[in-house]
Symmetry: C2
Subunit: 260 residues, 2 copies
DNA sequence: CGTCCCTTGTCCATAATATGGACAAGAACG
DNA sequence: CGTTCTTGTCCATATTATGGACAAGGGACG
């Protein structure tokens, strides 16, 4: 056996597989409604014949579905079937459950648990609060490029600046669909690093404001974020401070639950 | 645009992707514990360097995980993350729920809902009955080659004989791990076709007996099966008849719920 | 109803990619 | 210390995936 290399060299000989996965991740961001071919081409940077070929092979294999009406492509039902091979719910969900419960009761606004997956954020849990106006636009399964939500900003802020810059650069093509750009995102990340938590004064939904704390695994990498979303008027400076303290406290508890 | 072909020609230009998916399906059958490399090689018929390369690229991409201790490969946590793009629970699960409820209450033994996925059966729901001895060995997520369980036999019996033969032949390499073979399976399928339901006198677990009815989609293809498993002594000829009648009745109701 | 501009789908020569035979090396066993 | 498992790697080669170029459908508009 050869000696191990110190630098991690990506394995050769599987370009097609990597490309197929890149396509799948873009399709996943489209949820049930799916994504038109041209959008997949834009987001992945691949050529259209290549994306077309990949997508249609994945349809034959049942990994991708196509909506008859819209011609959009979406994740197929073999994906959840493969997912059944893993134990559910995940360790993180179990570890975070008590914290979400507590924070939701204390804060009263909508709470999200979001994980990092590659260059995306993915909402994996949501708790509705008791306050009568709730921000419900983000659902479990929502997937967005790292950087466009406060959770993404928080996660980027918690990793080495060079890593964050690489991810933001890789997501550049996808930012325009969310009306943002590399410079804006990097500015928000810097601000979050200073504050200790991620913030979006103007949420993805008009008139909302979001606040996120990062959650790190024992190896120091941010793996998730806990977010509060509320109508802007409910998150003035004083309450922002209170909410941040609760989220920070619970984030540390979740980190301990994962680590122990 | 060219005219559509009458015969469905599998798309060219994606051998690697198809192979990667074949590997993933074998890994899925290994659930949490995973599968050793040599077993993947056997089951897929690919060469070892090829499987090794595919599996390690999938690890880099987060689609596959490796257990440190055993060196076995298993489905990684990005798969459920991709699966979140789809609405849960599935339409079938919703449609079958009342039937499972009713049948479970009437019969009292363990009930399974199993779907066909490619050349496999996959358990997607399980209901524990009230009788004090329950067969619990098959869990949600359990995946086996079509033909080795009574559910698989039922599904094969409900499709055209030529299709069934093709699938059984394709699974040949995987049968020996379940101590069966092509001839035995084809015999059971023929018997099931005559009976109207699938039967295994000797279940995968010693001393158990299973009985399955198929469920067809509106296009006439069997997509799932409903199964009762019990200790053998509880399923004598008279009770077998009773249980079969209940399962057949509920299977037809599920078919209507899907079709309407 | 012709033109523009969007989309998706297909062909095929060619370059690049994935392939697998052969070899290396550890581990368990007697 | 050979035997027989397993996993991991190299690299010349031929098979495979690639993408430029073209085809074709459909909607908006004057």
């Amino acid at each position: 056996m050869r000696s191990a290399r110190s630098a991690v060299v990506p394995r050769q000989g599987a370009q097609a597989i990597r490309r197929a996965l890149a396509v799948l991740r873009i399709l996943a961001a489209g949820r049930e409604h799916g994504v038109p071919l041209a959008e997949v081409v834009r987001a992945t940077g691949l050529t259209r014949p290549t994306v077309h070929r990949i997508v249609h092979v994945l349809i034959e294999e049942g990994i991708v579905e196509r909506h008859e009406r819209t011609l959009r492509y979406a994740i197929g039902n073999q994906v959840p079937e493969l997912a059944l091979a893993r134990p559910r719910p995940s360790r993180l969900l179990v570890a975070a459950n008590p914290s979400l419960q507590r924070a939701s009761a204390e804060i009263g606004d909508t709470l999200f648990l979001t994980v990092r997956t590659g260059n995306d954020t993915l909402c994996v849990d949501r708790r509705i609060g008791v306050y009568p106006i709730q921000v419900l636009s983000i659902e479990v399964g929502a997937r967005r490029p790292l950087g466009v939500s406060s959770a993404g900003v928080a996660i980027l802020a918690a990793m080495p600046a060079s890593d964050a810059r690489k991810i933001v650069a890789a997501n550049e093509k996808r930012f325009e669909a969310y009306r943002t750009d590399v410079a804006t995102v990097l500015g928000e990340v810097t601000a979050a690093r200073r504050l200790g938590y991620g913030l979006r004064e103007i949420g993805l939904v008009q008139g909302t404001k979001s606040l996120s704390t990062w959650i790190k695994t024992p190896d120091g990498q941010p793996a998730a974020a806990m977010t509060v979303s509320a109508v802007r008027t409910r998150l003035g400076p004083r309450r922002e401070q209170e909410v941040a303290e609760i989220l920070l406290r619970e984030a540390r508890l979740i980190e301990q639950a994962i680590g122990g």
